[in-house]
Symmetry: C2
Subunit: 335 residues, 2 copies
């Protein structure tokens, strides 16, 4: 245990920056592309069309039950690539560190980043580190960008959603948001709340390999399942009929949501997605997903209809209610 901390000088571009990179970053994340420490990484030619994404991570607190900001920053960006039908290949990693961050915490986050990158089969090929004064950031912010290769002849996208498609959910919802919230607010719920943070690219790849005709996929991060469905209804021009009773929510999440007044439909996830497939392939697709830990509760939750840009939820009593954006804005800094 050491009391060393990040200092402003670590971000000045001089000897201390060099030491931070040589002694901590490269041992954790280094590879043939990152090690030369040039201004940019020159990558091999891609076979498929390049797919490009970015996300900033400001989750508070940076360590939460089931994960940390390092793991999240790698997995979240890989999942965004997977949602387009791409295989994640290359990541960039940009840190904004608050002066006084204990180096021990930074090292733990680097270890998490490496292990998530290894799991995802991606290489961290370029990066940047900035330091700001105490009180000008909140411990650590990470922005990752990712480049992947399109696995399919055409990307998954909302315009491919068709009336009659089955709507699948890859797992139960609400665990990430409630786990972070409970830790952040120091709420003692006596519940086993763990983030669901998980890599989704293997699930998408398996579906493709098993011949499932995927039309669209979207991971349920900020805004949750409800936000994703509303966005996709708008973007596809279709209506969605969803059976609320078919949406898996573990008892701990259901209880936490009830006590704290949240709707699990709008709570963030980091290892869960909705998928749109032809109805004839719904069962086969669910079975493929269920072979993965991150897909163990995969199930069909609804159907795409002709109705225009409308999301309707049917509850256990058969009563329908429309889903609306006004119920969304809930939790800041969940990722």
């Amino acid at each position: 245990m050491t009391d060393e901390r990040i200092l402003l000088i670590h971000g000045s571009g001089g000897e201390s920056t060099r030491q931070l990179i040589q002694q901590r970053l490269l041992p954790a994340c280094g590879n043939e592309w990152l090690n030369p420490l040039t201004d940019a990484a020159v990558l091999p030619l891609l076979q498929g069309r390049p797919v490009f994404t970015t996300d900033g991570y400001v989750v508070s607190p940076p360590f939460f039950p089931g994960g940390d900001i390092g793991m999240l920053s790698v997995i979240g960006t890989c999942n965004d690539l997977a949602m387009m039908g791409a295989i994640p290949r290359w990541l960039s990693l940009s840190f904004i560190l608050e002066e006084s961050l204990p180096l021990e915490r930074f090292d733990k986050i680097l270890t998490s980043i490496r292990s998530a990158a290894d799991e995802a089969g991606v290489q961290i090929v370029t990066g940047d580190t900035k330091v700001v004064e105490r009180g000008k950031a909140d411990q650590i912010f990470i922005t990752t960008a990712g480049v992947g290769e399109l696995l399919l002849p055409a990307p998954l996208q909302p315009s491919r959603i068709q009336p009659g498609d089955a709507i699948l959910l890859s797992n139960d919802i609400g665990r990430h948001g409630m786990a972070v919230l409970a830790r952040r607010e120091g709420i003692q719920l006596d519940l086993d709340l763990q983030s669901d943070v998980a890599l989704l690219s293997p699930l998408i790849q398996a579906l493709v390999q098993q011949g499932i005709e995927l039309h669209c996929a979207r991971d349920l991060t900020r805004g949750g399942l409800g936000g994703a469905l509303l966005e996709l209804a708008t973007q596809s021009g279709c209506g969605f009929q969803v059976n609320e009773v078919d949406i898996p929510v573990v008892p701990a999440v259901a209880a936490a949501c009830e006590w704290l007044g949240f709707d699990p439909l709008f709570v963030a996830n980091e290892g869960c997605c909705v998928l749109f497939v032809p109805a004839s392939q719904a069962s086969a697709a669910s079975e493929v997903l269920q072979q993965f830990h991150a897909g163990r509760w995969a199930t069909r939750i609804g159907t795409v209809t002709e109705a225009c840009k409308d999301v309707r939820l049917k509850n256990a009593f058969g009563i329908q209610r429309p889903l609306s954006w006004h119920t969304v804005d809930q939790l800041p800094r969940i990722c």
Copy 2:
């Protein structure tokens, strides 16, 4: 003039986030890749090898004489791609905003981003926006990542630097660092200090088109010219002999450095690079550079020698001194 400000809810992934994107981000930065607002952008196949880079921008203050954080975040990343011999093509843009940032400032920054992207000929194809509580960031942080296409059969890199190569400097040094510092500290120097922020990709492309055999290039950001030379000496295994008297420094920068106790060699730049070319092409290369505003003071400043990893400066009296890392760590949050 409006008093609207960024609120935490703008980062929640719900309706307010959607409005911020639809009403401000897309009108400023939109294009066929960004507009669909999918998880990632699917790009056309690249012709050359992909080159990938990232940088976080935390410059304080975000508006400084000669530029702002928006312009810097686009130009800095394009310059990093150019330094490898690549043409910048695609950018990602990730914002971390502090609650209470006036929307008018955000809009100004977006306008700057668009105009810099247009100048560079790059498209912003994917992005992210997060908001943190007041006092947990400093107005605005921007992280950009860039993907370019390699223009040359092989990337520019330190291993290509050879004894006998001429060392060229593309312009005068120290303007960015001193302009930001003076504005930040509210120092009234009565000097016309303006950042040198400028796009370097057109200079590199012109050199290549004119048949100059470029070996290596490095932009002089954090750490300045001194930091870049020290890094390149280490990375190339060569020694550099530099004539201090040949390094252009405008009088305002020289005066500010003298008054404030900085060495212009280690002050940051955002529109200046060192270049390594065969000595026989030094004059031709300087002439190409001088055709650009950002290269108007381009000149040869030294020669690569056999000596190992050593940077030696010769002053006006012919006296040599070794450059060392210990003199570097100077200014935080300069970019």
